[in-house]
């Protein structure tokens, strides 16, 4: 257990706080030393751990796939190319199955990026909860002389709502872009205003359609965030058992193993759902009613 002198509540809170860099209320810029300080920074702050892990994982994904893309042959594939082609076919099938908006060069690469990136970010959830934060604390204390209690390090980017909402908003922007592009400004606004009750029910239509439009990115982001946040939380709670003696520790070991195995399903499923819903939403943006 990190620190050793922390209470359970402090331990959990410590695990749920991001490594934050931002503007202190007094106007200076720097790292937050506590959850309260991070909160006080308000909007002008950035979660360094989320950014590092998500960008690092994204670059890993792009590197692995780019490596294949550079050397790919139409002859007999081998090794890594096989695996990439398998993923590729899987994504391509899904896009072909769900997206009927004609030729679009963005949707398929978008789906591939979402699936692999989200999956890899979720995968960080299977790393034991204390391992990387503890290493970060040691490194922070050793290299920078920081107080270990003030070093925060969250390794699963998708448990940071900023990450999931960032992706969902990007998808939302694409949805709006294609809605306006395919249906025209009038067509899209007309869809919002004159359905489902016709011209007479315009305010009701606007409210209904508006909510359904906004709910798409919100549900997209919250579903991923909620699942992963809950999963991470359970891992943290299981980790708390290790401080309760041998019997609790053994039980915790089995629980962690079981939850991790179950979680393999969840992280894959969530990545898949995020991808499929993105395809479906973009498909809807292409459909004229």
């Amino acid at each position: 257990m990190a620190g050793g002198t922390l209470t359970s509540g402090e331990y959990i809170k410590h695990h749920l706080t991001n490594w934050t860099y931002g503007q202190h209320p007094d106007g200076t810029w720097g790292f937050a030393h506590s959850a309260a300080e991070a909160k006080e920074m308000g909007f002008w702050a950035i979660h360094v751990d989320s950014m590092l892990w998500s960008i690092g994982i994204g670059l890993l994904f792009l590197y692995l796939f780019r490596k294949v893309a550079k050397t790919i042959t139409s002859d007999t594939p081998n090794g890594w190319q096989n695996f990439v082609e398998w993923i590729f076919d899987f994504i391509d099938d899904n896009v072909r199955g769900s997206f009927s908006g004609g030729k679009n060069d963005v949707v398929a690469p978008l789906a591939l990026t979402i699936f692999i990136w989200v999956f890899l970010m979720n995968l960080m959830d299977l790393v034991p909860v204390d391992l990387l934060p503890r290493l970060a604390q040691e490194a922070g204390a050793f290299f920078f002389g920081a107080d270990p209690h003030h070093v925060y390090f969250k390794v699963v980017p998708t448990t940071d709502p900023n990450v999931t909402f960032g992706m969902a908003l990007a998808v939302f922007v694409l949805m709006l872009y294609y809605s306006f592009k395919i249906k025209g400004v009038g067509g899209f606004l007309g869809e919002l205003a004159f359905q489902p009750f016709g011209k007479a029910g315009l305010p009701a239509n606007l409210i209904l359609e508006g909510i359904s439009l906004i709910s798409k990115p919100v549900s997209l982001a919250l579903r991923l965030f909620g699942n992963l946040y809950a999963g991470e939380m359970i891992f943290i709670l299981i980790a708390l058992l290790y401080s309760g003696g041998v019997a609790w520790g053994v039980l915790g070991g089995f629980l962690q193993l079981g939850w991790a195995i179950f979680h393999i399903l969840i992280i894959t499923l969530q990545a898949f759902i995020f991808m499929v819903l993105t395809i479906v939403y973009l498909d809807m943006a292409h459909q004229e009613h």
Partner: protein, 156 residues
């Protein structure tokens, strides 16, 4: 759990990743897979074509074989007929030659017989004359009775 600048940083990051994937990852892989698809389709089509051509070739080979068999049978029949003819010819030739030989032999035999007869006659006449000479010695003049003797010879 604070919403802050990370949100927009993530949007930008996400956009850049998608852009990179769209430019440098998806098209080459797509291209290679399409190319493989075409190659496989071509290969299958070629195999199909080859199979059809083989069938055609087999059919033609069968036809040729049939034709060749017919021709061979014809040739054999002709040859047999010709052989029969040759045998017949040889037979008739042999018969003619045999007949000729028989005739020639008979003629020869007759000739020999005639010649022997002639000699015999001459000798008999001579002997007769000689005998008569011995018996009659003086009473018979060869010159005076020669015509009688000649007549005798001719009668033998």
């Amino acid at each position: 759990m604070n919403i802050n600048l990370t949100l927009f940083a993530q949007m930008i990051t996400f956009g850049v990743f998608v852009w990179f994937c769209m430019k440098f990852v998806w098209p080459p892989i797509m291209h290679a897979l399409e190319e493989r698809k075409t190659r496989i389709a071509d290969g299958l089509a070629a195999a199909e074509r080859g199979k059809r051509e083989q069938e055609l070739a087999e059919k033609r080979a069968g036809e040729l074989l049939h034709e060749a068999k017919g021709k061979a049978a014809e040739v054999i029949a002709r040859a047999e007929k010709r052989a029969g003819e040759i045998v017949d010819e040889a037979k008739s030739d042999a018969k003619v030659e045999g007949d000729r030989l028989v005739v020639a032999a008979q003629a020869e035999i007759e000739q020999q017989v005639n010649r022997a007869k002639e000699q015999l006659r001459t000798q008999v006449a001579t002997l007769a004359v000689a005998g008569a000479e011995r018996v009659l010695k003086r009473e018979i003049d060869v010159g005076a009775h020669n015509d009688v003797l000649d007549e005798l010879v001719n009668q033998i």
